[in-house]
């Protein structure tokens, strides 16, 4: 008997047949939009890569202003395959945000957040914001010049949050300025708090995805009015395709890490002048550019404060989309798609503008 079946029997003798029976009989809708279903699995795979490479980096990384840069330099030059682990961690972080973003927008445009999957959407959005937090906190950890000043600019924006802005700034910086206290704080967020929250949210998200199954897009449902939408088995058909995608992602990561090693730059000098052209990571560029170009005053509030409020409220509305978009018929049925298109265009235009300026 194959080991997998032995394991199944062992499990079923103790916990019953429900789990394996569920997985074995789970079906995935098969249609022209099926390709989008794989982005979630791809994001999950990249997250697992981050967990593994992150743990390996932890063996040598030291979170202090005097040792952080040197320890990353040591990882990249002296530790066997350290360059690969650090390269994959840095590249996978970016690909992870990219796939998570694509997964989120595909879910949005296919309206997969519709009842009963509201909480799947909300947990997914929260996971995306957590990934952005991972990116922001992890960027500072090598303690190089670019990261130091980008963090300085990034955290400064927190001060624009109404009422609690200054408190937020002090809380995240661990004082008035970006110092060693900020580094240890960001390290704590990056390796303890965010992973804990992500594990819990990810568990909930995966459970909800399995519980409700894959959503079938409205257009596909309408096209198969009287007959059922074709499906294929989650195991093995979908899972094997997923694994194939993961292997390709692994190859892409290895190639990126080997051909375009993630630069370390020069060590941060808190007393040095801010170098020209300080920009955040690409996924924050659109916000950075918008906050930079916003006028000094909008209506009766300060421009920067308006920008922070705008993005804060925007994020809250984005999370509440399933509860706002309840009508699938009528004159407003296309409104979410139009709004989504505007948001995507805004993000792309602002990112290109910031990138080129």
């Amino acid at each position: 008997m194959p080991p997998f079946l032995m394991l199944r029997d062992w499990w079923e003798e103790r916990f019953g047949t429900e789990l394996f029976s569920f997985l074995w009989h789970k079906q995935v809708p098969r249609h022209k939009h099926t390709i989008w279903y794989y982005l979630g699995g791809m994001t999950l795979f990249l997250f697992m890569v981050q967990v593994v490479t992150g743990i390996l980096l932890l063996l040598y990384y030291r979170p202090s202003p005097t040792e952080a840069f040197e320890s990353v330099q040591f990882i990249m030059t002296k530790v066997k395959f350290g360059w690969l682990i650090r390269g994959i961690h840095a590249w996978a972080a970016n690909l992870l945000i990219l796939t998570a973003m694509l997964h989120m927008f595909s879910t949005f445009f296919l309206k997969a957040y519709r009842q009963p999957r509201e909480l799947t959407w909300v947990s997914g959005c929260m996971l995306f914001f957590l990934f952005l937090g991972f990116g922001f906190s992890g960027y500072l950890l090598p303690w190089n010049e670019l990261a130091f000043f980008a963090t300085k600019v990034g955290t400064q924006m927190m001060a624009a949050v109404p009422v609690i802005g200054n408190w937020l700034l002090t809380f995240f910086r661990g004082g008035e300025e970006v110092t060693g206290a900020t580094l240890t704080r960001f390290f704590g967020f990056h390796v303890a708090i965010f992973p804990l929250l992500t594990t819990m949210l990810l568990g909930a998200h995966l459970f909800l995805v399995q519980y409700f199954g894959m959503s079938t897009p409205i257009s596909v449902e309408q096209a198969h009015k009287d007959k059922p939408v074709p499906t294929y088995a989650f195991i093995p058909n979908f899972l094997l395709r997923d694994i194939m995608g993961w292997y390709i992602a692994l190859g892409v990561l290895a190639a990126l890490a080997a051909i375009f090693p993630w630069e370390l730059g020069v060590k941060a000098d808190p007393f040095g002048a801010t170098p020209a052209g300080i920009k955040p990571e690409w996924y924050f560029l659109f916000m950075f550019q918008a906050l930079k170009k916003i006028p000094g005053h909008v209506l009766f509030i300060e421009g920067e404060q308006f920008g922070v409020l705008f993005f804060g409220l925007g994020a809250a509305l984005w999370m509440l989309v399933p509860f706002l978009d309840r009508k699938q018929e009528g004159p407003l049925k296309r409104l979410p798609a139009v709004a989504g298109g505007v948001i995507v265009a805004f993000i792309i235009v602002m990112t290109i503008w910031a990138w080129r300026s």
């Binding site: 692994l250 190859g251 370390l264």
Partner: protein, 435 residues
């Protein structure tokens, strides 16, 4: 004349008191607001040479600090009647004679207690320094063509030396001195060269100064400012040594020191020149066509041999550093992290710089000792670079192998999926055919 000095002091103190005594509102706004000054009120209405100074004085450092025209010209600035305000009875002295200017400026500028209220860090020995200068001595001898305070600092639009538009700002100094010293006609009676400015403009010092380095030497750095005098043969190395400390100390240990003294050959100037000091380089030493050593030595005399030895070890280290740098550049372009090796390379560069300074001893063994330390470091950098390039090649091969393995697994998975789906399609077709 002590009486005049006291009189001037009184007038200046009066001007300060006027500022202090102006309305409380004005005081709280700007303590430097000038008091009522009828001289400027009337002269500002004039367009000719009598009006221009009044306009210029508004932005003059003295004007902005509460001084009035009367501070230098005497008279009573509170009196509106011109006859009275500019009367001898009220102390009016008109335009000061050139010969009186140093003493006039010194009335305040040599008074430490008075100047402290304005700028505690400003020196107050300008007049005594000036008296030791060639300018001061000639003025005392009755030559009024020489520079006095106002020739360099200006008259009615004097600015702090730190102001870029001040005539005595470091970047303006060469032009200020050159106004007289570069004018062959004006300098004719003094029978001194007037090509200093032209020479200085070709120098490395001017290159740095014009490039924005305000610490670069100007005329006054070597000649002094208020005590301006040409440095003599005995003192010139002390002047250069103010900045080039080690070169001066090491030259004192060289055989040139004792040999050149009787010949009245200047230590630094003999090799480097004075105003037109050019970039130095290893070409200056050795037996090559540009070598300065060959001016006095022959290639086969003892000096020539030492120069040749020094030149060889310097060129050797320079070449090793260039090679090591090129390997690091190549590794860095390929994305390899060579930060540590860069630090070692920079330490090796420092050894080359030290060897170039050491050569002022003309002791080839000492220079070689330093270059050997540099060579050792360059070799280490070279090895690090070679290792980084080897690591790069290893990574490429490793990547190719990994991608091959991954592609193999992906193809197998794809075939497996295809087989599975074909089989299940066949089974389904069989079931539907059977039914």
């Amino acid at each position: 004349m002590p009486a005049t000095s006291q009189q001037w002091r009184f007038l200046l103190m009066l001007a300060v008191l006027l500022v202090a005594g102006s309305s409380a509102r004005a005081q709280s706004r700007d303590i430097g607001t000038p008091p009522v000054d009828t001289c400027r009120t009337c002269h500002a209405q004039l367009d000719d040479r009598l009006g221009e100074p009044a306009k210029q004085f508004a932005d003059d450092i003295h004007g902005t600090r509460g001084m009035t025209c009367a501070s230098c010209h005497g008279g009573d600035p509170r009196e509106e009647d011109m006859e009275k305000s500019m009367s001898r009875a009220r102390g009016f002295r008109g335009v000061p004679k050139r010969s009186e200017i140093p003493q006039l400026c010194a009335t305040c500028h040599s008074d430490g207690a008075f100047m402290r209220a304005y700028n505690p860090s400003l020196r107050t020995d300008q007049l005594s320094q000036y008296k030791t200068s060639v300018h001061g001595k000639r003025l005392a001898a009755g030559d009024t063509k020489v520079a006095v305070c106002s020739d360099c600092h200006g008259i009615h639009k004097i600015r702090a030396a730190s102001s870029p538009i001040s005539n005595v700002h470091p970047q303006q100094i060469p032009a200020t001195c050159g106004r007289c010293h570069g004018d062959a006609e004006y300098m004719k009676p003094y029978k001194i060269p007037t090509d200093q400015m032209a020479g200085y403009k070709t120098s490395v010092h001017y290159e740095k100064l014009s490039g924005g380095d305000l610490a670069a030497p100007t005329c006054v750095t070597c000649h002094g400012n208020h005590g301006a005098t040409p440095p003599g043969i005995s003192s010139v190395e002390r002047v250069c040594g103010t900045c080039h400390v080690f070169q001066e100390q090491l030259f004192d240990q060289s055989p040139h020191k004792a040999a050149w003294a009787p010949m009245k050959m200047s230590s630094c100037l003999t090799c480097h020149g004075n105003h037109a000091i050019k970039h130095t380089g290893d070409f200056l030493i050795g037996t090559g066509k540009d070598s300065i050593c060959m001016t006095c030595h022959a290639a086969d005399d003892n000096g020539g041999k030492v120069a040749s030895q020094i030149s060889t070890v310097l060129a050797g280290l320079d070449k090793s550093l260039a090679e090591a740098g090129a390997i690091l550049d190549s590794a860095e372009q390929k994305g390899m992290e060579v930060g540590e090796a860069r630090v070692t390379l920079s330490t090796a560069h420092e050894k080359l710089i030290k060897a170039r300074v050491d050569l002022h001893t003309m002791n080839s063994a000492r220079v070689e000792e330093t270059t050997k330390a540099g060579e050792k470091l360059a070799q280490q950098v070279n090895q690090d670079g070679v290792q980084a390039l080897a690591e790069y090649a290893f990574r490429r091969k490793g990547l190719a192998l990994s991608l091959f393995a991954i592609a193999f697994v992906v193809i197998c998975l794809w075939l497996l999926i295809r087989n599975l789906e074909r089989r299940s399609a066949g089974e389904e077709a069989g079931r539907s055919g059977g039914s």
